[in-house]
């Protein structure tokens, strides 16, 4: 029983790491821009496809981890500013429903773009997984990539993000704009640049999530949808805009899901959503969310 619990925790940690990487970008963008970006799933998928393509181009296993980083940076740098400046900047003052529809339309367009560029046949590039080899725990084989790298990168990303937001000038500007945009602008903060930077970082995180997922899964049309739905559950459970909350919730959902596979497999699919419903019934703003006073 003890070993089973340990195995379930290890599986939960690995899954939570992957989930957090996607959810954190989504929650960051919402926290600052107040836009729920449905196209976040497409950025995840494009990051994954670009990473798989680069791994294939590089050929050598030793360079495959580099390919993941380049893919995340390239997709974030290219798509982030293009989407924020070209599209979102025009709808900041519009209704939430319209913003949702615009990002949904973008999601559909980017889905078709993926099919156009990479076709519909599943793609799989697992060189980074092979490079890092296996780890044995209690007679069970894990891949080091899954057990060590994914949770490790997620932890580093969380710490870096917290440090960036609390210790750097740009990070503090982002926090200031999040709390009160008008006051922040009044003291000279360039809100436009803050929005651009935040969305680019969010896009980069989505792409990094995709790039990290690429070596572990088959890339098929619709791969972004699967992840974004679960990420929404993480973000809603944590409370919109809560970065540390997203980490804790991803961990909770990861653990709940793996425990379900071990002890009640029928519940595997619904466990994240049961958790979400239970939390929202008790705390409608999410586990870490705060009720906002309405400004008149």
């Amino acid at each position: 029983m003890g070993l089973l619990l340990l195995l379930a925790v290890l599986d939960g940690l690995a899954y939570a790491g992957q989930l957090f990487m996607v959810a954190v970008g989504l929650t960051l963008v919402f926290g600052v821009l107040k836009i729920l970006n449905v196209a976040h799933g497409s950025l995840f998928a494009i990051g994954a496809y670009v990473a798989a393509t680069l791994i294939g181009w590089f050929g050598a296993e030793e360079l495959s981890l580099l390919a993941l980083a380049i893919a995340a940076l390239a997709v974030g740098a290219l798509f982030g500013p293009a989407i924020e400046r070209g599209l979102l900047a025009r709808i900041y003052d519009k209704e939430h429903v319209l913003q949702l529809l615009v990002t949904f339309a973008l999601f559909m367009i980017l889905e078709d773009l993926q099919k156009l560029l990479w076709g519909v046949q599943p793609r799989f590039e697992d060189a980074p997984v092979r490079l890092l080899g296996q780890v044995e725990v209690g007679g069970i084989f894990y891949t080091a990539y899954q057990l060590l790298l994914l949770p490790g990168v997620a932890l580093v990303a969380l710490l870096l993000l917290v440090w960036f937001l609390r210790r750097t000038l740009l990070g503090r500007s982002i926090v200031a704009v999040t709390h009160d945009r008008e006051a922040a602008v009044a003291i000279g903060i360039d809100a436009r640049f803050v929005y651009l930077s935040t969305f680019t970082i969010g896009a980069g995180l989505a792409a990094l999530g995709g790039a990290l997922a690429a070596p572990t899964t088959s890339l098929v049309p619709g791969v972004g949808v699967q992840m974004i739905v679960l990420s929404f559950a993480v973000v809603a459970t944590a409370g919109l805009g809560q970065i540390e909350g997203a980490a804790v919730t991803a961990l909770l959902i990861g653990l709940a899901r793996s425990l379900a596979v071990y002890f009640a497999p029928e519940l595997e699919v619904v466990v994240p959503y049961l958790l979400m419903v239970a939390v929202l019934l008790v705390r409608p703003a999410g586990l870490f969310g705060r009720r906002e006073l309405r400004r008149v």
């Binding site: 379930a8 690995a14 519909v120 799989f124 069970i140 899964t217």
Partner: protein, 439 residues
């Protein structure tokens, strides 16, 4: 001799004149159309496009070849393809549009079982000849009688019974089984067939885990850990597409294949993509009597020509949906040719076409098959084990068994799930001899 009255003469003349107008126009023989228009529903988007697009590609290639020879029974063929992915309501609307606005003569619908179950009643309503070209649910002809629908391939019952018989033939000592299927109708139904048949043939086999990850899952690591801990003799999975690829890769990376024998009834369609990550000795199915290196059809011009041309044009080896599409098109061609001959050279009506399709025997790329009077196709099942060979960068099938339909398919008028309860080890013993792979 009855005397012909004026009233009787008038009535007879009126009936004779009115008959062609009273009867539906399409129930009579018609003029050969300038083009035979075929509506095809397939998945052009979404995860199932891994099957839908190769199916569409095969249709393009075969129709082009058919037209180069003068078309079907002399009529050039034109295909109108619709995407099945947006859902059943969209599909029904599209079928209606194709029949009523585009005047298609025949529909080839569909891949999803849900689509087929929905299209069959619509075909009745529209009097639209419909060939179910790829969907697998056995329920269609077990639960309904359809005048305007036939299926030119087998169904889920033989697709699951054949690999089970194969497993018990090569591993009669199997004691524990675990299942990892997608959580949707096919995953649940295929497991129900396997479990019921297994309980009948070998009731002492214990099911140690029933895992149904959500449809579209991208990660199976928790399931794999669980299976490593349980160490079942056999892992059964009817997953397909990207999910099967991911499951195979993740299981291989974590050495699960070393602990359990895998039975993967749909893995033929993943072989080229997963490559040699799939180890030797895995039981692989192909959803029918087809494979690009089919043991008895290999070397015949028809299969080799198709495989070479498909590979040249699309850069991939043909997988099972391409063969299912070929079966539908060859059946249609054979039915039109036969009906035309029976109709004295007059183009057959929709009803004559459907009557001809029932009971039709026709040649396809890898053999010859028959459609039962209820509309269900009778097709053997090719099952083998994976083997690594130097000629291909992916596993091929070895020790192939071609299970005849009479061994794996329930007879007409019975229900598959009831019929499998009567299977015994004697059925296993009747399995034909395996055929080795030849380079």
């Amino acid at each position: 001799m009855t005397e012909l009255t004026r009233r009787a003469a008038l009535a007879t003349t009126a009936s004779a004149l009115a008959a062609p107008w009273i009867l539906p126009r399409s129930a009579l023989g018609q003029q050969k159309p300038a083009k035979l228009r075929i509506g095809i529903s397939t998945f052009l988007s979404g995860p199932a496009s891994v099957f839908g697009v190769p199916g569409r590609n095969a249709a393009d290639l075969l129709i082009e070849q058919l037209n180069a020879k003068g078309g079907t029974a002399g009529a050039p063929v034109e295909a109108l393809v619709i995407d099945e992915a947006p859902g059943v309501n969209f599909l029904l609307g599209e079928c209606r549009r194709l029949v009523q606005n585009e005047n298609v003569d025949v529909m080839l619908a569909s891949i999803s079982s849900g689509s087929c179950l929905a299209v069959a009643p619509l075909a009745e309503e529209l009097r639209m000849p419909n060939i179910m070209w790829d969907c697998g649910t056995q329920r269609i002809f077990e639960e309904g009688t359809w005048r305007y629908s036939v299926r030119t391939q087998a169904n889920a019952v033989p697709e699951i019974v054949a690999p089970l018989l194969y497993l018990l033939k090569i591993r009669p000592d199997v004691r524990t089984v675990a299942v990892v299927n997608q959580d949707y109708a096919w995953g649940r139904d295929s497991w129900a067939i396997w479990k019921t048949a297994m309980e009948a043939i070998k009731p002492d086999v214990r099911v140690v885990a029933e895992l149904f990850p959500k449809f579209g899952a991208t990660d199976f690591s928790t399931e794999i850990t669980r299976l490593q801990a349980l160490r079942p003799d056999v892992v059964f999975s009817t997953s397909w597409g990207g999910e099967l690829d991911t499951f195979i890769r993740q299981a291989a990376e974590r050495r699960l294949f070393e602990r359990s024998l895998f039975v993967l009834p749909l893995a033929e369609s993943s072989l080229e993509r997963v490559g040699k990550a799939l180890p030797e000795g895995v039981i692989v199915g192909a959803r029918g009597d087809h494979w690009f290196l089919h043991p008895t059809a290999r070397g015949n011009g028809r299969l080799d020509g198709f495989v070479a041309e498909y590979r040249k044009r699309y850069g991939a080896w043909p997988i099972y949906p391409t063969f299912h599409m070929a079966q539908a098109l060859f059946a249609l061609e054979a039915a039109y040719t036969k009906a035309l001959a029976a109709n004295g050279g007059v183009w057959p009506s929709r009803e004559q076409l459907m009557d001809t399709l029932r009971g039709l025997e026709f040649d396809h790329l890898t053999g010859r098959m028959k459609i039962r009077p209820d509309g269900q196709g009778l097709e053997p099942m090719l099952i083998g084990v994976s083997k690594h060979v130097p000629e291909y960068p992916f596993p091929v099938l070895d020790q192939m068994v071609l299970f005849p339909p009479e061994l794996t398919m329930n007879p007409m008028g019975t229900k598959g799930l009831d019929w499998v309860k009567g299977l015994t080890m004697e059925t296993v013993a009747k399995a034909p001899a395996p055929i080795s792979y030849k380079a």
